[in-house]
């Protein structure tokens, strides 16, 4: 046991983007991974707890920060029929959780050329006709660890409202849980990704400042700075990074200016 504690302490120090930090004297609780019981420290995330229990993530883990969608977990609580879903890197273990990782779920993904696609709903319908098999069971929404209104974006796509679907699906991290629960066998998140691509490329108003910045980059404005960076050694780079000017976390919008304005 003491061995384990010391391991966790090490883990704790190097962990970034992981909310589960083990307090002193933390108790252990039982969880069931694929049916087998493990005693793990409470307050760990599912991912940490599984690693604590000896699992090693070769796939099914990525950012460890709740953004890559690689680590979805499905679980039940003891004596309850209800399914719960979460991201293993974000969800804290609870006593008597019965869980399994679903690192991948097969979902149909259409191929298309975004450069030549006609930016209308019909193009999306033609690539994913299974859209029309949705029965509005809402299992997808219930399964989404990001709280995305999946049924609502699927409905918007059927109704031809590309903008609404793009906005509704914006928080999707492509974890695939919706598809795993779908009665109509839809690949919701792939369809939504196509929708956002079409929306971003053809429909959403273009940001003027972005266009300007791209122009600057292409005109070679930053070439010299980049070259300088490329030539730096590791120590020098580290020093530069640590000493960089940073906007304070809670600074009100538009109040902060760096000392060095040469890159603006």
């Amino acid at each position: 046991m003491s061995n384990h504690e010391c391991e966790c302490a090490t883990v704790q120090q190097i962990a970034t983007g992981d909310r589960a930090i083990l307090p002193k004297g933390a108790k252990t609780i039982p969880v069931y991974v694929m049916g087998k019981k493990y005693e793990v420290p409470e307050t760990l995330t599912i991912m940490k707890a599984m690693e604590y229990a000896g699992f090693k993530f070769l796939r099914g883990a990525g950012c460890r920060g709740g953004i890559c969608g690689a680590c979805p977990t499905v679980y039940r609580k003891e004596g309850d029929y209800k399914l719960h879903f979460g991201l293993a890197c974000q969800t804290v273990v609870e006593p008597n959780m019965y869980l399994a990782q679903i690192p991948f779920y097969p979902a149909n993904r259409a191929s298309y050329d975004i450069e030549t696609i006609e930016p209308v709903a019909e193009s999306i319908h033609a690539l994913y006709p299974e859209l029309f098999r949705c029965v509005a069971c809402n299992n997808c929404t219930k399964a989404c660890p990001m709280g995305v209104q999946v049924l609502d974006y699927i409905s918007a796509i059927k109704q031809g409202d590309i903008a609404r679907a793009a906005h509704l699906s914006f928080d999707c991290i492509q974890c695939g849980m919706c598809a795993s629960r779908c009665m109509g066998e839809l690949p919701q998140y792939h369809i939504a990704q196509l929708v956002r691509r079409i929306y971003g490329k053809y429909i959403q108003p273009k940001a003027e400042h972005l266009r300007k910045r791209v122009e600057e980059i292409e005109s070679g404005k930053y070439d010299a700075t980049l070259e300088k960076l490329q030539k730096m050694g590791k120590d020098e780079l580290e020093k530069l990074y640590k000493e960089r000017e940073r906007e304070p976390d809670m600074a009100p919008l538009g109040t902060w200016m760096p000392q060095d304005t040469q890159y603006l």
Partner: protein, 135 residues
Amino acid sequence: MPIAISEKTIKREFIEKIASLSGQDINRCFQCGTCGGACPMSGEMDAMPRRIIRMAQLGLEEAVSETRTCWICASCHSCTVNCPRGIDLARVMEAIRLLTLRKNENMVEPSKMPAETVKEMPQIAMVSCFRKLTS
């Protein structure tokens, strides 16, 4: 074409399944043929609805599954509102379809539909077709 009926051809479970899925007592049918007369698709069917009912009464599961009648049916309910014996034949057709669809079999393949067809179809056509003809 004559159909042989014997102990072996009569599928009890088939009769029971049709009854429970459709909620209809098909034994009430007295073979008047009104349903086929009212059916807009009957000209395109290889067996009249009346014949399907008869075969179902006799538990001829295979004979029923060899016809295309239930797959041509458009669920229009003309037969239903016209049957003098009060049988909701549209429900019987649905029950027969479901016996196949529930084996994870499709009668139309969404993935194989030509893009041009999907693009021109009203959404209600796609939804209704997939609901009635895919698993």
